[in-house]
Amino acid sequence: MPDFITGYLSSNKTPGEYGSVFWSLVYIFLIFLGLSVAVIAMNWLERKILAHMQVRLGPMRVGPHGLLQPIADAVKLLIKEDITPSAADRWVFWIAPVFVVITAFTVFIVVPFGPQHAVTDMNIGVLFMLGISSLSVLGVVMAGWASNSHYPLLGALRAGAQMVSYEIAMGLAVVSAVLMTSLDKDGTGTMSMIGIVQAQQAQQTWFVFKFFPLGLIAFVIFAIAMVAETNRVPFDLPEAEGELGAGFHTEYSGFRWSLFFLAEYSAMIAVSSIAVTMWLGGWLRPFPHALSGETWDTIFSLVPGVIFLFLAALSFRATARMSKHPYFKFQKLGLGAFGLLLALIGIVLFISTDAIDIRGKVQDVFWFTAKVAVFMYLYIWYRGTFPRYRFDQLMKVGWKVLLPLGIAVLILTAIGGIIF
């Protein structure tokens, strides 16, 4: 194998630091793949979980328990007619979804899935992330303007105002987390994402529990601001169906709309990854120091396999409970095959021999993904539970509640850092 491939594998750095273009491209490709699968899964999960919360069943027909529904949705969106309003600004209309998607995906360059598993680890990773999120506001405003119609313009201006307001609260929460990284022995903080997780490891506490309740309040501020930043319920007035048409993406159809959809879910996953990295310890398993040692390591490393086997058991149970009518033959086969696939993955995740240690290698990425998945579930839970904020209430919360709270947390964290 040529050296530029194997040379990287033995080093202990991210591809960006090592300087390997090939492996950076591999990582970027894997991130694209993972994000696409995640967005498809989110689509299905959102409809199913919302349905179960509302005591109904959700999609059941397309595949077994609606598992092929996202594929049907994707095909429908791709074959829809691509309409451009006649009086719309053609150039800006074309570039707005492209801009939003680019900014949503670029954040993933700095997201750390493990100590060496980021595309690159910039020294200003946090600043980069904040900057790219603020560029996405521009895409939204451009989309609303280019549609040349009232409802999209109103939706876009509202969305722009909301995103800018909550960016400030996000920034303050992030600054207090960065401040906490400097509270170790030599007093130098870091803004790199991998550095923040390593600081949590060195200080032996997830930042959400540091200086209790300051870390928790900063985390809650960020969690609320990130929901507002991605225009999700309860802050989704800009795209409120039933009040504004569909907000700023009313005039987009087919593939362009699916780009907005993709960008929205990718942005959700991106800001959740940032919240996980900064407060919830990134790729560290729960209780890395309180329950340390060989046995606890082994027990926690069995969790991925156990989870997949549990999901496989659920699939088999659903197969057994399906109706005995002959029309359901293919659905039963499909669900059974899906269950078998999950079981296979679960068994593979148990392998930990001297030659190939899958169980050990998959730990970082698994815990990171599990925490982000919890956040995704929270997003869907909010959608099923909360009513929508009115726009002036939304701005009031952003400026009059979260901003002073963020400043107070920052000051108190700094004071706490000096005292302790």
Binding site: G131, S134, L138, E167
Partner: protein, 167 residues
């Protein structure tokens, strides 16, 4: 190449009829300036440029452009009649810049050499953030506080001027 894109963006800003297109070209210029900051080993400044300038101020620009009816201005003449004199003035300024730069290359004891030809040491990335922080909070603390007070006064003034009169 980055400076070429910046100049191209600048030219597009003044030549587009549609104000929104001009704003987008300005965003292009700002992003390429951020890239230039990166080339000069100042990643913190580049990041802050993107967050504040391209992501904050340009959003406000776009808001104002969209809320003000600019239909009339699209039908007007793009350049006024004295554009030739403006071009001559800009070329003169450019010649001045080039002259200063070339002159500093020749003699090493000149004052221009001290200004423009200091060698660029390759700093590590982290030290830019820390250097800016140290400068801002230790050497120039007074100026920093006065600037923030000035911004506060500007915000209060803007809010007062925009209030509706209830008569």
């Amino acid at each position: 190449m980055l400076s070429g894109i910046a100049v191209l963006g600048g030219i597009l800003v003044i030549t587009r009829r549609n104000a929104v297109h001009s704003a987008l070209a300005l965003i292009l210029t700002l992003l390429s300036v951020a890239g230039l900051y990166l080339m000069l080993y100042a990643p913190f400044v580049a990041g802050v440029q993107i967050i504040l300038y391209a992501g904050g101020i340009m959003v406000l620009f776009l808001f104002v452009i969209m809320l003000v009816n600019l239909e009339k201005s699209q039908k007007e003449e793009q350049f006024n009649k004295i554009w030739l004199i403006g071009l001559l003035g800009a070329l003169g300024l450019g010649a001045l810049f080039v002259g200063v730069f070339v002159r500093s290359a020749r003699s090493s004891n000149d004052i221009f050499f001290q200004l423009l030809r200091r060698p660029l040491v390759a700093f590590a990335d982290e030290s830019n953030t820390q250097a800016v922080g140290q400068m801002l909070y230790q050497n120039y603390l007074f100026a920093f506080e006065i600037a923030s007070l000035l911004l506060l006064v500007a915000i209060i003034g803007a809010v007062v001027m925009a209030k509706k009169r209830i008569n």
